[in-house]
């Protein structure tokens, strides 16, 4: 069971941080102090602290968890920083999490494109859990990404700065990590698509189409069909609107080597014709976040810099989010996927 140590009623008291009463009163006797049990979230006045253990017994101060955030606790970030939501959508194994993991892997090697710099993240452990299979100490022969769990609808916090703007405030992004199954269920059912309504004021929506399937003539039509259906359903359900900046990304671009395929003609054109008038902006790109080694013309994180550069640009109608997306509890299928939790878990 989690125990939250509440801030004392007295403004100057740092009991929530130190476990010690301002007036040196035994906490059991202090009238201003109390412990809460369960899933309650406590605001201390500056930053939220949630404790796993009773600090009186352990003399330990619990720090933020560093995990990915859930919708229920995302306000821990949005109340501290103006954040831009980047929703990354797409079917199972399309490369959504690999894209997110690659951004963090690239930053660990240095600035991206010698232009975009890492300024912090309250989800470092969350990133690490999504990245470690791309590293030698995971023991893997080939770089992989842990599959996003079926129920997951999470966010990773990332603060970035641009070259020449190091002295300005960082831009804070919340990158979604949503399971492909949830997306596929949403494209099949309006009932489930309703769950996507949490996507309030997205800075960018990225729909990832699995390039490996596009490269396969047998599977190509079906994967494009899935994208069309999802986008159409999102538009019809007012999830996407004339305020949506939609970027369609073809992943795994290295799979097109040696294949005679005109993406513009065979993929982009029909999607543009169908949807460009129904969203604020519709753009396309092809990336290879983690190309197979030695693929001629491809380097690690191919196309990711351009994607980030676009995210760093303001959105004409953007309103920086400083609030929590509110979800009404319901018995809808979508909400069954959510796992309730405490901030920083």
């Amino acid at each position: 069971m989690h125990t939250s140590l509440n801030a004392c009623n007295q403004d100057q008291c740092k009991v929530s941080l130190t476990g010690k009463c301002l007036e040196s009163i035994d906490l059991k006797d202090c009238p201003h102090f109390y412990l809460l049990s369960g899933d309650e979230e406590i605001e201390t006045g500056k930053n939220t602290i949630i404790l796993d253990e009773d600090p009186i017994l352990t003399s330990k101060i619990t720090l933020f968890k560093g995990e990915a955030f859930e919708i229920d606790n995302i306000s821990n970030v949005t109340s501290n920083y103006p954040c831009k939501y980047i929703y990354i959508l797409g079917g199972v194994d399309s490369g959504k999490t690999t894209l997110v993991a690659t951004i963090f892997d690239l930053l660990q090697r240095g600035s991206i494109g010698n232009h975009i710099f890492f300024a912090g993240s309250l989800s470092l452990v969350g990133f690490e859990k999504r990245c470690y299979l791309s590293r030698t100490n995971s023991g893997a022969d080939n770089a992989e990404t842990n599959r996003t769990q079926f129920s997951d609808f999470k966010f990773l916090h990332l603060a970035l700065k641009e070259k020449g703007k190091e002295n300005l405030s960082a831009q804070h992004f919340l990158l979604s990590d949503i399971s492909g199954e949830l997306i596929e269920q949403s494209q099949n059912s309006s009932y489930n698509m309703e769950g996507m309504r949490v996507m309030k004021q997205p800075h960018r929506v990225v729909y990832v189409i699995d390039g490996e399937r596009v490269a396969n003539e047998k599977l190509r039509a079906a994967v494009i069909f899935e994208a069309r259906i999802f986008i159409q359903k999102a538009i019809d359900s007012n999830i996407f609107s004339l305020y949506t900046d939609l970027h369609i990304v073809i992943s795994k671009g290295d799979k097109f080597v040696g294949i005679d395929l005109d993406l513009e003609k065979q993929v982009y054109a029909s999607l543009r014709a169908k949807f460009s008038a129904k969203v604020e902006k519709l753009t396309f790109s092809c990336i290879a976040a983690r190309p197979a080694p030695h693929t001629p013309g491809f380097t690690f994180g191919q196309g990711v810099y351009q994607l980030l550069q676009d995210w760093m640009q303001p959105k004409s109608n953007a309103i920086l989010t400083m609030h929590t997306p509110v979800i009404t509890k319901s018995t809808r299928q979508f909400n069954k996927f959510k796992v309730g939790g405490l901030p920083y878990e």
Partner: protein, 307 residues
């Protein structure tokens, strides 16, 4: 006046060696000292004297493994240039303490209280540690392929004569392991250090901005040639790029500068070089690289932090 410096760094990053060399400097008979030890009265120095004796004898120093229980070190000092008198409080924490913060997502209330009083940070990193940054499988494959090509070219005759096939080593064959679930030990040091700084910024914004002297230890192993100069910040950019970016982007919180420090002066494994050092005075062993400046002034990072 009191200056409370937090000595941070993961295990085996040279924290204790630095403190031993500092104590040797302060107690030694050295001309033109920048920092002067005022008095040995009313203080306990058993730990300091012990580690300093070992340092002077070119012995390996004992590792402090007591998580959360630092060796208390308090010195009453005067800055020669300004005549300012202050108490320097630099507790020697075990490196495991900082690893534990990342792993357990908690720290001792004693550490928390010291943090609240901190007026500066000495942050140690070691160039020896292979986990300073993560190695991507993509990069490892490129490297192993290059090696394989070189080996193939060199041993072509032998390979042909045996009829065997040269199989480049794969990351797992280097590593000798198979896929494992995530563990904190897989996370690189630079990520762990960034997280420690974020913990400080998030949980104790009241002590910000704070100065950080980033000390790259064993500098003698980096700048081992007279005619090769690498600046400490360049090393940081190359070897711990995420940490460098974080510090650069958060100068409103952490005012940092980089120092290359060799408090030991020599790798004890190198018997010949070590024996050559015997004839030198203790302070001559020390190497401090600060920008383009090279000296043996161990006080440099401390003076920079407290100024």
């Amino acid at each position: 006046m009191s200056k409370n410096l937090l000595v941070m760094g993961l295990a085996e990053t040279g924290k204790t060696t630095f403190i031993a060399a500092l104590w040797a400097y302060l107690t030694g008979d050295i001309e033109d000292k920048e920092l002067i030890l005022n008095s040995l009265r009313d203080s306990e120095h058993e730990y300091l004297n012990n580690i300093t004796k070992k340092w002077m004898q070119f012995d390996d120093l004992p590792r402090n493994r007591d998580i959360g229980k630092p060796k208390e070190i308090l010195m009453n000092l005067t800055v020669t240039a300004t005549r300012d008198i202050f108490d320097l409080d630099i507790p020697d924490f075990a490196g495991e303490t900082f690893r534990e913060h990342f792993d357990s997502r908690s720290w001792e209330s004693d550490y928390d209280q010291r943090l609240q009083k901190a007026t500066g940070i000495l942050l140690f990193v070691s160039p020896y540690n292979p986990n300073n940054h993560s190695v991507l499988i993509a990069d490892a494959v490129e490297i192993t392929q290059l090696f394989a090509t070189a080996i193939h070219d060199t041993n072509q005759d032998q390979t042909l004569s045996t009829g065997g096939n040269a199989v480049p080593p794969t990351p797992s064959s280097i590593n000798g392991s198979i896929n494992k679930p995530y563990q904190h030990e897989y996370t690189s040091n630079q990520v762990k250090i960034v997280e420690e700084l974020q913990f400080i910024a998030f949980h104790h914004p009241e002590i910000l901005p704070i100065k950080i002297a980033l000390i790259i230890s064993a500098w003698d192993t980096i700048e081992y040639c007279e005619n090769v100069t690498i600046l400490p910040e360049e090393w940081l950019t190359l070897q711990m790029p995420l940490l460098h970016q974080y510090l650069n982007c958060n100068q409103d919180k952490f005012h940092f500068d980089c120092f290359g420090v060799s408090a030991q002066g020599v790798d004890y494994e190198n018997k010949k070089l070590t024996e050559e050092m015997y004839s030198k005075s203790p302070e001559e062993r020390i190497i401090i690289r600060y920008g383009n400046e090279k000296s043996n002034k161990i006080t440099k990072p401390i003076l920079w932090v407290i100024e």
